[in-house]
């Protein structure tokens, strides 16, 4: 008698230890192989784009904290840039340098989290996460020192930043970027980049071809792992990135392992940028005077920043009123996630988890 076998449908998520929040992946599985994947998003939808139409431009800044809560500064920055572009506001030099410093600190914090949880998805028993969290704490301490918050910073303002840095900030930052972190990043390189088991788990897993990457409009480490040199800090410089010297790491294979290497290397490059910004930090005002109920002229503006996850774009339409007429967010997490099916079909469940971890999604940003 022939044994009848059929693919089994398994719900991975929304309540699952490694879906990084409430993302759901309906996988059709034949033995251990994945035959088909259906992605279900929206469990964390908070209707931010609609809510923003009821609030003033300044009141919308906290929403950007709560989208990608692991990289709140990048969200702040992207949104403020778009409103400044719309209203034609000039930002003081010092504020621009501070924005660069905090955006890069946030990139370090976010990449540390991504690397740690990625190795956790590979099955390590919490150790890399703890190591990465330890260093992320130091970065968050600096954010707390400046704006009083660690996660939802709400620091950037339209026309500058909310507060100037306190006196003890620069010495602490100097200690962090020159003494603490470089040593740690070398350690991660040694522990992770040559690790045989991580190589076996992550090489040739979740491969993105350059064609797929461009067609699906991927960005950030996902795009660069596929071998395409593209970084908005170089390609479309904002703030003062055009004055900084730094390199962009680009992978060869487009697999999960390359993404991990790129993140570690980007953290080192972020340190370089912070050092330069610290050195060149000018004096002066940290903020221009902008009315709280800002009424930008009717029109539209799109501005984009390289957030840790990729191209984070804000499209703002104004009808001349105090609130945006329409506010749209191009969130890198959602768009990077869109290729999950191509990446996982034909692989095992374990690979799918590693792939999902290497995309580094943030469900807060996917669903908004």
């Amino acid at each position: 008698m022939p044994i009848k076998s059929a693919p089994v449908e398994v719900n991975i998520g929304p309540q699952h230890p490694s879906t990084h929040g409430v993302f759901r992946m309906v996988a059709k599985i034949d033995g251990e192989r994945i035959v088909d994947v259906k992605m279900v998003v929206g469990y964390l939808h908070r209707s931010m784009e609609k809510l923003a139409e009821e609030r003033t431009f300044t009141q919308n800044i906290p929403f950007t904290d709560r989208m990608d809560y692991l990289a709140a500064m990048s969200g702040n920055l992207g949104y403020c840039l778009s409103v400044e572009k719309l209203a034609g506001i000039d930002v003081p030099e010092r504020a621009q340098y501070l924005r660069v410093i905090f955006a890069e600190l946030q990139r370090i914090a976010s990449h540390l989290m991504a690397t740690g949880t990625f190795i956790n998805d590979c099955g390590a028993w919490q150790t890399p996460v703890m190591y990465c969290m330890r260093d992320r704490e130091k970065v968050l301490d600096l954010l707390e020192m400046t704006c009083g918050a660690r996660l939802t910073t709400n620091y950037m303002r339209i026309g500058g930043v909310a507060f100037d840095i306190p006196e003890e900030f620069l010495p602490a930052l100097d200690r962090l970027v020159n003494d603490d972190l470089p040593y740690r990043f070398e350690e991660y390189d040694q522990l992770l980049s040559g690790n045989e088991i991580i190589m076996m788990r992550a090489r040739d897993v979740g491969v993105v071809t350059p064609e797929t990457a461009i067609n699906a409009s991927l960005s950030g480490p996902m795009l660069r792992s596929a071998g395409i040199a593209w970084d908005l800090r170089k390609a479309d410089p904002y703030c003062v990135y055009d004055r900084m010297t730094f390199d962009i790491p680009v992978g060869y294979n487009g697999d999960a392992f390359d993404r991990m290497l790129i993140r570690i290397e980007e953290m080192k490059q972020s340190l370089r940028i912070i050092r330069q910004a610290m050195h060149d930090l000018p004096g002066g005002a940290h903020k221009t005077d902008v009315p709280l109920a800002l009424r930008p002229p009717a029109g539209e503006a799109y501005s984009r920043v390289e957030s840790p996850k990729g191209e984070l774009g804000f499209y703002v339409v104004s009808d001349g009123g105090p609130a945006p007429y329409r506010w749209h967010v191009r969130s890198p997490s959602l768009i990077n996630l869109s290729v999950l099916k191509e990446m996982t079909v034909g692989q095992t469940i374990a690979d799918a988890i590693v792939t999902l971890g290497s995309i580094d999604i943030n469900v807060g940003e996917v669903d908004r």
């Binding site: 089994v8 398994v10 699952h16 230890p17 490694s18 251990e32 190795i119 956790n120 998805d121 590979c122 099955g123 390590a124 028993w125 919490q126 150790t127 703890m130 190591y131 330890r134 690790n195 088991i197 991580i198 190589m199 076996m200 788990r201 090489r203 040739d204 040199a229 593209w230 970084d231 170089k234 390609a235 479309d236 010297t245 730094f246 390199d247 962009i248 790491p249 680009v250 992978g251 060869y252 294979n253 390359d258 290497l261 790129i262 290397e265 095992t348 469940i349 374990a350 690979d351 988890i353």
Partner: protein, 428 residues
Amino acid sequence: MLLTIVTEHWWDIRDLSNLSAKIAELIDAAGGPHWLIFVVTGLLGAGGIIAFIGACAVINIWVERRVVGRMQSRLGPNRLGPFGLLQPVADAIKLMQKEVLQPKTASGLIFTAAPIAFTIPGIWLMAVLPWGRNMVLADLDVGVLFLLAASSLGALAVFMAGYSSNNKYSLFGSMRAIAALVSYEIPIVVALLGVVLFTGTMRLSGIVLFQEHYWVPLLLLQPLPFLIYFISISAELNRTPADVSEAESEIVGGFHTEYSGMKFGLFYAAELINAVVVSAIIATVFLGGWWMYKVDEVVPGWMIFIGKIYAVYFLFVWTRGTLPRFRIDQLLAFAWKWMTPMAIVNVMLVAAEVLLWEETGWSAGLLLPAYVVINNALAVGLIVAFVRVFAPKFQRFPTGLRMYSNIDVPALPAVHPADAAPVGTPAS
């Protein structure tokens, strides 16, 4: 001599079997039936072993969390009691208070029996392990065979748990557990065969006495079986580099996804018990059990044994805190492609060595050092050779990154195509 005087008394802690010998004498003197001696001493030993196992299960929660905590650059539990020592008690109380949920679709009897079936074999195993020169509860002639038989029963319980839960994740976990069992049982058996060939006995106390007699722990004589046994048994124990059947990040909890309350607690405790028992097996077979050169004349043998158990247990915790997990197919390939051939090569070499030893009758003082050198060289050589041959090949492109300091940005058209002046002649 003080030492000899102490030895003659039943309260000498260096060999607790003196106690049961004294009891036997008492029963004899009182004219009790002969079988009573076996019953009483047997129950006494069993009680002692169960007490030890229970104490280990409680203490190891603390040990494991504390040691792993240090490895992860944090403190671990340190609030409850001195050094957080009462934390396991709090954990146990919490687990006992929790409601034991059982899915409606689960098959009740097997679902309940699985955690019990998971715990018992571990306790059985301790019975045949020698704790001191005469301190062994059941000195089986086929001790090694018993070890192999009982230690693979755990996987059956895992399968019971996963299959009866009626949950897809659990089923995956139990499928993986069976696959791992089938693959890893072979290298374990063949690796221990090398040890048995060398010592010429399957009796565990005999294996210890061999190491005592020739003054060499089998770890030196049989380094390859030690490695193979350590890796394979961590696959069977679901310890982290190979914990595919409960793989938290992949299949939630694997076979114990549906368990809660004290049923889960039993799984949790049994995992720690099994780790201790396997450490004890390694300590007995490869590290000389209660024997340790001249130290065992001063320090009680069972203390040395416990010390060795915890040294090996530390190794398990260490690997757990350090390594990521293999994928299931990689794990099975590792068993078939690496472990099994290596173990077979080792057995052939051991057979030749033992034959040479017996046929020529050369002195052990001459041969054993030579064997130590040969076997260690073989272990290193085999591992290097296998790495050369079987290392995973995925290098489609060189590893590493290219660094770009500048990006070529394609120029955008100056005028948007829709706004551009029309090309060609408009239709009239």
